[in-house]
């Protein structure tokens, strides 16, 4: 199973954390469908594309979540969707923090994994950190070494 990217959005629709995993042998074990020896592309272009990506991802999950709520009732939850190329997993906390993960099609439901990231990593290292800002105006984002490190470990060891 391959994780392509991971996003956290706060309740003001701001992307507060974004992480992309390039399919390099060192970062993700057991990746597939990729030519061996692939290297990261030019940095400038990647970052710019990623910036737009976060906004598009937010727009998508926001619209789909509202659509699902409208059809299934207030207590219905949007869980995931597939396209022919990837799968998007969604988890929203009661405080409206949204966790989004893009994986390959073979991955099982990642709802529990996203919940674990929230409970064991986000709450522990970001929410309980007295230096971490409560709101993230202007997209400062989660800038927390401990969180990033443990997320990296979680994705590469637990999910791979």
């Amino acid at each position: 199973m391959t994780v392509y990217s991971f996003y956290i959005f706060d309740r003001h629709a701001e992307c507060i954390y974004k992480r992309r995993w390039l399919p390099r042998p060192t970062s993700i074990v057991g990746k597939s469908n990729q030519v061996p020896g692939a290297a990261p592309a030019g940095l400038g272009q990647t970052v710019k594309a990623g910036d737009d990506d976060a906004k598009l991802v937010f727009g998508t999950v926001f619209s789909l979540r509202n659509m699902v709520r409208k059809l299934g009732g207030e207590e219905d939850n949007f869980v995931s969707y597939n396209t022919s190329q990837y799968k998007l997993h969604y988890y929203e906390t009661p405080t409206n923090i949204k966790f989004v993960m893009l994986t390959d099609l073979k991955s099982p439901s990642m709802r529990i994994a996203l919940q674990q990231i929230y409970i064991n990593l986000f709450v522990e290292y970001v929410v309980k950190n007295p230096l971490s800002p409560v709101e993230h105006p202007g997209g400062i984002g989660v800038n927390n070494e401990l969180f990033e490190e443990s997320l990296e470990q979680f994705v590469t060891r637990v999910l791979a």
Binding site: T2, L22, N33, A38, A41, S63, N77, T83
Partner: protein
């Protein structure tokens, strides 16, 4: 399971067969259906209201729908809870909306139009946020070299599954329902809302497309991209879906 085979027999009967049936059998069937668990009846009552029950057999077949919902593990994926169907034209306009079984909340016509338009946009975005995996500049991947594939060669990235075409949203899962989207080559989208446990949704959606082609597209009075008002389509769609459950 005996019951599921029995359902099939009942479900396959068309309106013509009803006249040929001896009343004794019908009564026996009615008695059979009375033995169903109480959980199924609540669903069947609500669905009976929406579908016109013209005779015992029709109501019996709706009963079997209700039963199928409660036991999704019936063999050969007989359990088919199809909530509703929406058809969106290539411009994002709603051209058909029909509810088959209760299960989802009812929206106003305006809300359905908004939903169709929103979905049309989201579908395009889900396609554009497909992860792009960077390629080494010197690497000549076999997929990138193959003609006619969607993999861009110049910009140096490939899609996760290089051979497959890049599509928008195909399946959406929630706690309560599953949305399957089928887009035709001309851009028309069929949205089928089913129970999360329903199997063989692709078969259902292909058959619906077939019916659409036969009774909507071949209808000389149908204007392209306009709302579908074809009685034959409605009839065949309803009959076929009822026959499957």
């Amino acid at each position: 399971m005996n019951t599921s085979i029995h359902h099939d027999q009942v479900g396959c009967r068309t309106a013509k067969d009803i006249n040929k049936l001896p009343t004794a059998l019908t009564r026996k069937e009615q008695a059979d259906f009375e033995h169903f668990p109480a959980t199924s009846t609540s669903t069947s009552i609500s669905s009976e209201k929406s579908t016109p029950a013209c005779c015992i057999l029709c109501s019996a077949s709706t009963l079997s729908i209700g039963h199928a919902v409660s036991t999704p593990d019936t063999p050969d994926s007989v359990a088919m809870a199809v909530f509703s169907l929406i058809i969106i034209n290539k411009a994002g306009g709603l051209i058909y909306q029909r509810e088959f079984q209760a299960g989802l909340r009812k929206l106003s016509t305006n809300d359905y139009l908004v939903l169709a338009g929103t979905f049309h946009g989201v579908h395009a975005i889900t396609r554009s946020i497909t992860p792009k995996l960077p390629l080494a500049p010197t690497t000549n991947s076999p997929a990138a070299a193959s003609p006619g594939s969607n993999t861009p060669v110049a910009s140096g990235y490939s899609y996760p599954i290089p051979g497959a075409s890049v599509s928008g949203l195909e399946y959406l899962e929630t706690d309560k329902f599953r949305l399957t989207c089928f887009q035709t080559l001309t851009g028309t989208k069929f949205l089928l809302f089913t129970d999360p446990m329903t199997g063989n949704v692709d078969t259902i959606i292909n058959k619906i497309y077939e019916l659409y082609a036969d009774y909507v597209m071949k209808n000389p009075f149908y204007q392209l991209e306009m709302p579908v008002r074809c009685e034959a389509f409605d009839r065949h769609l309803g009959a076929w879906l009822r026959g499957r459950t």
